[in-house]
Symmetry: C2
Subunit: 418 residues, 2 copies
């Protein structure tokens, strides 16, 4: 590997400073939590729009709350190469998952301000990727992809507020969400930079990697039903304890996934009635399941479901399953993989690393209207969705260089195509 080239003035320090500035838009004073259609969402949009305008972009918020910026290409009304990621977070989040990709895109737009491009250049900060508020991920990018499902209007957050009500409260008109959709002919391609959220780049001592495919998650809600009874007076043979059944299921889910190449996570649990001296009559669990291919993932779910039903039946419990989310594996376009791979080589890494993403990304939704490409940036210890998320300035600097180079690479291919 040749020694890395690093232009200290390429904007990496500013990108990191802006990530820190966005931390101020949070629902809680002591931790970062910025979910869809909240005052903090609006605040992050406003700050991002100001940075977009300094980069020479014209800005607007679309009908689903996504923040956009655009500069025209050499031909008026040409289709746009879209760069972006998301501005929402999980509860108790780190500062980079999503935001880094938006701010790197703005830095690239700023650097290319005087460079003629054959297409328009757009930057988008998607409004909901994590699905932390309504349990349904990729709401912002699905609106842009035109795959919004009217059934979602009745999704409710933990306070009982429906998505429809939240739209109105944010100043958006639910009837007009269709206006956020972009047509395929309006989009040249979509490029997203994102922290890796895994340990492989760090283990291989590399700043950047290009993504081959994005695993599609399936998410389920499991409700285990038993009987709430007195904790003292009910002997074991009479118990139908939903929480012990849920505990056994959680352990089995891990055991099955671990023995395969799948990743399964139960991140939520709630029990009712939830009193210290009452046996749980009901336990509600979330399940998030991912694999490198849809077939592996679906086969694993069939095995898990059978095992959970077996555990519950043995305990006199019943289980209700509903699927909350299902996304197919999304492959990155091979020409964009090559553009990004080549772009990474200009940062001094002569054999860029190919990665597949176990995490979902907005690019999955955008894939239904445009070719997608993704650039991963190394993060410390693979940590994400946690305040300890950390990226190195040198890696961000390489990332901005590579993303800028990828934009020019797309222009070359696009030119050659016409």
């Amino acid at each position: 590997m040749t020694p890395p080239r690093h232009d200290a003035r390429n904007g990496a320090a500013e990108v990191l400073a802006r990530c820190a500035e966005l931390d101020a838009f949070t629902a809680a004073p002591d931790r970062l939590e910025r979910v869809y259609l909240t005052p903090e969402h609006a605040g992050a949009n406003r700050a991002t729009a100001a940075w977009m305008e300094r980069a020479g972009l014209t800005t607007w918020v679309d009908a689903a709350g996504n923040q956009w910026g655009r500069r025209e290409g050499s031909t008026p009304d040409a289709p746009a190469l879209v760069l972006g990621s998301h501005l929402d977070t999980v509860p108790d989040a780190g500062s980079y998952d999503g935001m880094l990709g938006v701010l790197m895109a703005i830095a690239v737009a700023e650097r290319l301000q005087e460079t003629p491009l054959p297409f328009a250049l757009e930057v988008v900060g998607f409004s909901d990727e994590e699905g932390a508020r309504f349990g349904k991920a990729l709401l912002g990018s699905q609106a842009v992809a035109g795959t919004w499902d009217p059934a979602w209007w009745e999704l409710r957050d933990q306070s009982g507020v429906s998505l429809r009500e939240a739209f109105t409260g944010f100043g958006l008109d639910p009837e007009r969400v269709g206006e956020a959709a972009r047509r395929p002919e309006q989009v040249v391609a979509y490029l997203e930079a994102h922290i890796e959220q895994g340990p492989e780049l760090e283990a291989a001592d590399r700043s950047l990697g290009y993504v081959t495919t994005i695993a599609g998650a399936r998410r389920f809600h499991l409700r285990v039903l038993g009987e709430a009874r007195h904790a003292g007076g009910t002997p074991y043979p009479r118990r139908r304890d939903a929480l012990v059944g849920a505990g056994e299921a959680i352990v089995a889910i891990e055991r099955l996934a671990r023995a395969s190449d799948c990743i399964a996570t139960v991140g939520q649990i709630e029990v009712r009635p939830g009193a210290v001296n009452v046996i749980a009559g009901q336990a509600d669990l979330s399940l998030d399941l991912r694999a490198a291919t849809d077939d592996e993932r679906d086969a694993m779910w069939d095995r898990m479901r059978a095992e959970i039903e077996r555990i519950c039946a043995q305990r006199g419990l019943t289980v209700e399953v509903s699927e909350q989310h299902r996304a197919s594996v999304a492959p990155c376009a091979s020409w964009l993989q090559e553009v990004i791979r080549t772009a990474i080589t200009t940062t001094g890494d002569s054999e860029p690393m190919a990665l597949w993403s176990r995490a979902g990304h907005d690019a999955m939704a955008v894939a239904s209207i445009a070719d997608i490409g993704m650039l991963f940036v190394r993060c410390r210890d693979g940590i994400s969705h946690h305040p300890a998320e950390e990226v190195r300035e040198i890696d961000v600097a390489h990332g901005i260089d590579a993303l800028e180079r990828a934009v020019l690479g797309v222009a070359e291919v696009w030119h050659a195509d016409r």
Copy 2:
């Protein structure tokens, strides 16, 4: 067994109707939840006081929110035989756990209104037995027993309201809680009727039983600490999933208790951050542990704790334990066991059944100032702490007869003693 004697006019139907009337004092329209120091607590006190007055009792609410009624004995200012139970409930409760004993006591007072007694007769509706609001049980009866601990003032409910603040909000003065305490010389004895909360009377086809001893529970709060990380990006070897550790602990707790004579229940669990796509970094559990003797119970806890620590260590998790509640086994006074046993025989059951209580009762707290006796009433399928709680009118009728007879029995013994 001789055929049961049942006087249809002994008040059983009215007691059941009043239990149903008390259901109206609830925090939720669709289920019964009446916890300490709430408007519904005040409402239940007012309704109960009205029934007490119709039974010829003079009423007051004491400095800890307990509802009292009293009639004097033949000698002015004589000590009192206290009958009672509690008026608070768990969340999503049935109509009888606690309330039945208070309303049976009022029915007995009404029937004995014209009968001279050598002692005063008091009825108490304790304000907090379940501990559902502040996690600490027997608050009402501990105030009466004079065992109130000033450390409790800082206990907080799920909304963050402290016990001190709740006292003030209810119109009580925290500084005067000591005035609720009764001195041993003021109390002849304490008798409590309660649903069995177990299946033994039903299995033996009996209406009533007398209690030999009340098991003391220990309650713990367990906090399992891992690391919140991205559900997709974190491979299994890097995970420290607090919820899988908690699940394994919950299964182990059941396995250990089941193999012994102990009863252990995890009725509460909460995880943080609690998002569908984030590994749980923290899981908080309650543990309620009971046994026939304190020694068995304490030995079981030592084994459980070691097992939980082993499970957590193996997963790179840590566990923090704090004890929330500890009550010793409380024996019923042998002379009161005999009085109640004899009283039951007058209802037609010539060989009354002796039971030990796995559930805690206000009598445990009162035991520190007076001899205690308990009468159990059969309930359907042993169900309690659940809307499906059910008692039969014939059993309540036998119970009122037996409780009345027990009051007269105490008078005979007390007379003989003097």
